[in-house]
């Protein structure tokens, strides 16, 4: 019994139960079902983990009461909260504004969930676990992600509410502004690995120095810079705090989601988390070594578990950031993208090219390679940071 | 029974005609531009069809053409819509018939 190939063996065993004509169909149906189940549950437990973690970051308790029906004594630390939330969302009244564009109002949540799920198709979840092997997987991922913008526009327009429409426009401005640094931060990885295939990129990060230091891209100067840019752009792309101003619950009326209630609202919520999970999975694949174990002796743990551990780590980091940072203003948001992230990402592109051109430098030249690459990252960061923060002393509050 | 190549070509020519109707029959500038985009797409479809069923698919000439054509179409859409916005700012209208001040 080999844990590493267990999922594949299970799948093949199930597929073999069907007549050969149906096997192709069953094979893909099974893959889709497993992804939906695993990431549906992952979504459910991300919501409760987020609420509990956020609470702990702010010295609160968080939801701790939802237990099991018929066993009121059993509280289970509230981990069944997402199911209670789901029941609530489903049983709520579905309100559609009288003047709404009914078709678009209905299509928007459906499409946004569908598009946000498409990205999972090309993520390598394990050594042999990749739903669809595509040569141009990264291009596919971003093409699928770009379609969610349409759904947001549909939500804003279909609601026939000027606040919804304005907020949808703001959300789109944010998505378009941050798509650029997101894609630019990925390009160096493509250059160094020489491929667009996620499977090959994950495989390219194998190997360890002294059996302990993994050869992940995040542990190179250009990879580290690209990873930070990727993280910030991911936060903005998935509308998470500190970039959650399109739907700022506390000051706007939830933006383009104003006219949505019940299950449709839950679908938007779900799509947001699916998008975050897919982008985190992409970050894990591109920068954190995908399914590779961090140390050589830890390889006995199956690769798909390593992938999930890293994915959970990314999500926890995002929750941590959400519990820490304040919401940005729209001008600060766009300025951060155009004046800071895009120039750095462009410079980092050159850095990736330098790294791709010098793989055969040996001996003392290795040190020079690292030093030059680090300089390309650090010097512009310091200079740009100094320029952007010039004249901005820590603010003092007169009445606080 | 028609071959896939013929199906490709028929779809492409019908798409071209739909775009033509859009460009000729409608007077909203945006719709006219979209009609032209459709005609461009129909041409792209032809390139892919002839690449796929042509004698030298490995040379990928058709794909190259389509890639460049998509890039040019994106530029065209950006400039065209910017022009429409500029016209709208001056004339408060996007009807083609009203943008006629250069007509003799």
């Amino acid at each position: 019994m080999n844990l590493e190939t267990l999922p594949l063996q299970l799948r093949n065993a199930i597929v073999d139960l069907f007549p050969p004509a149906l096997q192709w169909f069953v094979h893909h149906l099974l893959t889709i079902t497993v992804i939906l189940t695993v990431f549906g549950l992952f979504f459910a437990f991300t919501t409760i983990a987020e609420r509990k973690l956020l609470a702990r970051l702010q010295n609160r308790l968080g939801p701790n009461r939802a237990g099991l029906p018929w066993f009121p004594k059993l509280k289970l630390w509230g981990i069944t909260q997402p199911f209670a939330d789901a029941i609530k969302a489903i049983t709520k009244e579905d309100i559609v504004p009288a003047a709404a564009d009914k078709v678009l109002h209905f299509l928007a949540p459906v499409l946004i969930v569908a598009f946000s799920l498409l990205g999972f198709a090309v993520l390598p979840f394990g050594r042999n676990l990749i739903p669809v092997e595509l040569d141009a997987a990264l291009l596919y991922f971003f093409a699928a992600g770009a379609a969610t913008e349409l759904a947001i526009f549909m939500a804003g327009w279909g609601s026939r509410n000027k606040y919804s429409l304005l907020a949808a426009m703001r959300a789109l401005a944010q998505l378009i502004s941050y798509e650029l640094p997101l894609i630019l931060s990925v390009v160096p990885v493509v250059m160094v690995c020489g491929t667009l295939s996620t499977k090959a990129i994950a495989a390219a990060q194998g190997g360890w120095t002294f059996g302990l230091l993994p050869h992940w891209h995040v542990f190179t100067p250009w990879g580290f810079a690209a990873f930070i840019i990727f993280l910030i752009a991911t936060l903005a792309e998935s509308n998470r705090s500190p970039f959650d101003l399109p739907e700022a619950e506390s000051e706007l009326i939830a933006g383009h989601l104003t006219e949505y209630s019940g299950f449709k609202y839950a679908l938007f919520f779900m799509a947001e988390y699916f998008g975050l999970t897919a982008l985190s999975g992409l970050g894990v694949t591109l920068f954190l070594g995908g399914w590779q174990a961090p140390c050589e002796f830890l390889q006995f743990i199956p690769s798909y578990l390593w992938f999930m551990i890293k994915l959970v780590g990314m999500i926890v980091f995002f929750i941590w950031v959400r519990g820490t940072l304040l919401r940005l203003r729209i001008d600060q948001l766009t300025r951060l993208s155009w004046k800071f992230l895009v120039p750095l990402a462009l410079l980092n592109l050159g850095n990736g090219a330098f790294w791709a051109l010098t793989p055969d430098w040996t001996g003392p030249l290795v040190l020079a390679r690292w030093a030059i690459s680090a300089a390309i990252v650090v010097v512009p960061f310091v200079l740009l940071g100094r320029r952007l923060t010039a004249g901005q002393a820590p603010r003092s509050y007169r009445y606080a | 029974m028609i071959s896939p190549l013929q199906l490709f070509l028929i779809v492409s020519s019908l798409l071209f005609c739909v775009g033509l109707i859009g460009a000729l029959a409608r007077s909203n500038t945006i719709l006219v531009l979209l009609g032209i985009e459709l005609m461009l797409n129909a041409a792209n479809l032809n390139f892919i069809a002839f690449w796929r069923y042509g004698p030298h698919p490995a040379a990928a000439t058709g794909m190259m053409f389509v890639l460049f054509s998509i890039a040019v179409a994106a530029a065209e859409a950006a400039v065209g819509l910017a022009l429409i916005i500029a016209v709208h700012r001056h004339r408060r209208s996007v009807r083609l018939q009203e943008a006629n001040s250069l007509k003799g």
Binding site: L53, L57, R60, L325 | -
Partner: protein, 204 residues
């Protein structure tokens, strides 16, 4: 350097996270239905009517149906009907009493003006905040039986104010008794004085 503030912030929240597990003093959450909140004495919610005696609340109500609170109430949530007969109050004086005293807590805005204007210390603000009802009309419209609460309850929720009110009422009662006594004495002396006076008048 740019970004150092973010790292500092992340460190603060990380400290909160770790601290929340081993330092109970950090936690601010009260687990409400299990742990009842400690309300400050001056917490106020909806008014109640003070009665002297828990065994006979309707008989010993301090309210004399003067209707000042009804007139003062800004959202007009108080409705009072005067009684036809009179009852002796705590001082033994015959007073009217409210035959109907209704407060619509759905309308009440907890402004405490009724308490401020009451000359008889008969209406006070309550500490009860969980007043959910299944019927928003009859469930939230409280009548005088539901509003009446004994003075001992007032002592429980607001000991300082209750003691002060009791002292004042006792002083008034004593003054009233004194006055009554003095009046009785004056009547008596007047009676005795008039007798000698008449006698005196008759004597010469």
């Amino acid at each position: 350097m740019l970004g150092s503030g973010i790292l500092k912030g992340l460190a603060v929240t990380a400290k909160n996270f770790v601290g929340s597990y081993h330092n109970p003093a950090r936690m601010v959450t009260q687990e409400y239905p299990d742990v009842q909140p400690q309300l400050p004495a001056n917490y106020r919610n909806f008014p109640f009517l003070v009665t002297e005696n828990a065994t006979d609340p309707m008989g010993t109500m301090r309210c004399v149906a003067c209707q000042i609170c009804e007139k003062e109430c800004p959202p007009q949530c108080i409705y009072i009907e005067k009684s036809k007969d009179k009852k002796p109050d705590a001082n033994g004086k015959l007073q009217l009493y409210p035959a109907v005293f209704d407060i619509d807590t759905a309308v009440c805005m907890s402004c405490q003006l009724c308490v401020e204007v009451c000359p008889f210390d008969a209406i006070k603000m309550d500490h009860v905040f969980a007043i959910a009802a299944t019927n928003r009309f009859s469930g939230l419209l409280l009548n005088r039986e539901e509003l009446a609460k004994p003075n001992t309850y007032f002592h429980e929720i607001r000991p300082d104010e209750a003691a002060e009110v009791d002292g004042r009422l006792a002083a008034e009662r004593a003054a009233a008794e004194e006055k009554a006594k003095a009046a009785a004495a004056a009547k008596a002396t007047a009676a005795t004085a008039t007798k000698p006076a008449t006698g005196g008048a008759a004597a010469p």
